[in-house]
């Protein structure tokens, strides 16, 4: 089994107005294909930063991240866009939905750059909306949805793109237990049926059974 993600001595320091803050340091981590990795840690432990680094959304200040052997930190924007579009999907902690766009449009924005046939993706979107109990809410704005429903829209936006690796930053942080189970079951089904890899970050509300491996982050370092 190959490694889809490899972090080597990974570190990230934020510098703002003369002060520096080290969010992550010396992270060595390998994620195998079809693995479900759970990154656990308290708020501020560096989970989101690690997810952002592994997905290529930000570049490391030290070390490197290899995605399928490609070093993300040195890759050009077009390669990063290609990976973000076709290989990975990110479910954000705070959903990152566009407030002026409807549910359907928010999901559509995730699939538009793929230039998929619009008839085909409409079908897929509607199918997911049905599965996540959001049928009939396509034309609502995110602000008109509950927090849990917004979370589901963010999940659907990622799932419709059929990525082979999903980064999920607190994917159930804002939903009730039942919705959390639904989301996690969906992700697990995808892992089983489509062999996707899952990297999830949580402060503790994802049960261990959803992970093949768990790592703990503390003060920007892997514990133990």
């Amino acid at each position: 089994m190959g490694f889809i993600i490899e972090c080597i001595s990974l570190g990230k320091t934020y510098k703002r107005k003369g002060s520096a803050f080290t969010a992550l340091s010396d992270i060595n981590l390998k994620v195998s294909e079809n693995e479900a990795l759970l990154i656990r840690g308290r708020s501020g432990a560096g989970k989101s930063t690690l997810i952002h680094l592994m997905s290529g959304l930000i570049r490391p200040t030290s070390g490197k991240v290899l995605f399928d052997g490609i070093e993300l930190g040195n890759s050009g924007n077009s390669i990063l866009s290609e990976i973000l579009l076709n290989k990975t999907g990110i479910i954000f902690q705070n959903f990152n939905l566009l407030p002026a766009y409807t549910v359907f449009e928010n999901i559509e924005l995730g699939i538009l750059p793929k230039k998929t046939n619009s008839g085909k993706y409409r079908e897929i979107i509607n199918e997911y909306l049905k599965q996540f109990d959001l049928e009939g809410k396509e034309q609502l704005l995110p602000a008109e949805l509950s927090t849990g429903q917004q979370q589901k829209v963010a999940v659907i936006r990622t799932l419709v793109r059929e990525p082979s690796l999903i980064f999920a930053d607190e994917p159930t942080g804002s939903v009730d237990d039942q919705s959390a189970s639904e989301i996690l079951e969906h992700l697990m089904n995808l892992k089983r049926q489509k062999n996707i890899t899952l990297v999830m970050a949580t402060h503790g509300n994802i049960p261990d059974r959803y992970a093949d491996r768990i790592i703990e982050l503390e003060n920007g370092r892997i514990k133990g």
Binding site: H52, S55, L57, I58, R59, N77, S78, S81, E82, L84, L85, N86, I90, F92, N96, L98, A100, Y101, L109, G110, L112, P113, K114, R157, R161
Partner: protein, 399 residues
């Protein structure tokens, strides 16, 4: 495209501000260009032909070309008070062929001492149909009494000062230059480099002087070349070119072209500076609007980047959005400009009597192009900022 228009509509006040900027800029640019064009048509048109003349001759120490003719009674070929030799037609052809020369005319200027009138008299033989004669010597426009030269044998026109000094009237007969001359008209030609007391057509003067000027022969029948230049601004260059080609000749000008050339330069420069300033304002204003738009959408663009939207597609949307605003603004500005120019031109509603606004259709295209160029330039910094920013940082910014 759907999302692009959606964004323009969503931020309608910013869009309206952007369009308004282009509207105002294109309106002012249109008025400046129209005024500038009208100035070129009027004042610059006048200045361009101001002082655009000079004379060319061959200075000499010998008064004429006939043995023994040095006796002043026999007369002499002159130019600017000194003696001048005859020139052949090759010289005038060379002058005519010089770039920037609008016209070159032959001139035969001869002076004798008239025993009857007890004074020196200068007689100028001119080519009445040539523009260079008009600007260097005289023309029908200078007639103050009688009629201008018609080409009849023995017909002359007299300079007003000469006529006053000798109490000459239209129709008087002069016995001079070995024959009879009838004063057909009186002219006041002003200060001109080729001024004489009497003027006749050059053929008549050749005929009158054939006894005195044995050197008049085919190809040698003028002693001055009158030159008219196409534009005051190129006069120094034309004079230099002629001096280089015909170094043995004297080239003389009153330098009236100099201030005209300077004024034209200032006027055109002012128009250009005004256009450039408005263009710079347009770019800065538009850049500010586009940049504000980018900052406003910064987080959202970061989200789109995280979804795999490429920098090029996002940059394209920024540029296209700016171009759409500039197109809408410039077209509206041009239409408004046309209306303003029309209203300013109405007799009843004429506000600025001393200014004419003339729309040159070709410049409308230039105006649209300027606005489009401005809109593209304005997006350079936003596009660079977008390309350099990392999606993660953009998402985490809450500006």
């Amino acid at each position: 495209m759907k999302y692009l228009f959606r964004e323009l509509y969503r931020h309608k006040w910013r869009t309206i501000t952007g369009i308004s900027g282009y509207l105002l800029a294109s309106l002012f640019l249109m008025l400046v260009l129209s005024l500038n064009y009208s100035q070129q048509n009027d004042s610059v048109g006048i200045l361009r032909s101001t002082g655009t003349h000079f004379i060319v001759y061959l200075p000499s120490t010998v008064s004429c070309c006939r043995p023994g003719c040095e006796d002043p009674v026999n007369g002499s070929l002159i130019a600017e008070g000194g003696f001048a030799q005859m020139l052949n037609s090759d010289v005038i052809e060379t002058v005519r062929a010089t770039s920037g020369v609008r016209a070159a005319a032959p001139y035969l200027l001869y002076k004798i001492h008239d025993e009857n009138l007890q004074c020196d008299i200068t007689l100028g033989g001119i080519d009445t149909s040539n523009i260079a004669t008009k600007t260097n010597v005289c023309s029908a426009d200078n007639i103050i009494a009688g009629t201008y030269l018609s080409g009849n044998m023995g017909e002359v026109v007299a300079e007003e000062a000469f006529a006053m000094a000798h109490k000459l009237k239209v129709g008087d007969t002069l016995h001079t230059f070995g024959g009879k001359m009838i004063v057909g008209g009186i002219v006041n030609s002003g200060i001109k480099p080729g001024k004489a007391d009497l003027y006749a057509t050059i053929d008549n003067v050749r005929d009158v002087l054939k006894e005195n000027l044995l050197c008049i022969s085919d190809g040698f029948d003028m002693n001055i070349i009158l030159v008219e230049v196409a534009d005051a601004r190129i006069q120094p260059r034309v004079m230099n070119d002629i001096k280089k080609q015909l170094s043995f000749l004297a080239v003389s000008s009153y330098n009236c072209y100099q201030p005209a050339s300077d004024v034209m330069g200032i006027m055109e420069g002012a128009g250009t500076v005004m256009t450039v300033l408005i263009f710079i304002f347009l770019v800065i204003f538009s850049a500010k609007t586009q940049f504000a738009g980018l900052i406003e959408r910064y987080r959202e663009l970061g989200i789109l980047k995280s979804l795999g939207w490429t920098n090029s597609s996002l940059s394209f949307s920024i540029v296209l959005s700016s171009v759409i605003q500039s197109l809408a603004g410039s077209i509206a500005g041009i239409l408004l400009g046309l209306l303003v120019v029309f209203l300013l031109g109405l007799n009843g509603a004429r506000v600025l009597d001393s200014f004419d606004f003339i729309v040159q259709p070709g410049r409308i295209g230039l105006l649209v192009l300027l606005c489009l160029a401005g809109s593209v330039i304005a997006t350079i910094w936003p596009v660079i900022k977008l390309a350099r920013a990392e999606a993660g940082d953009m998402i985490n910014s809450y500006n």
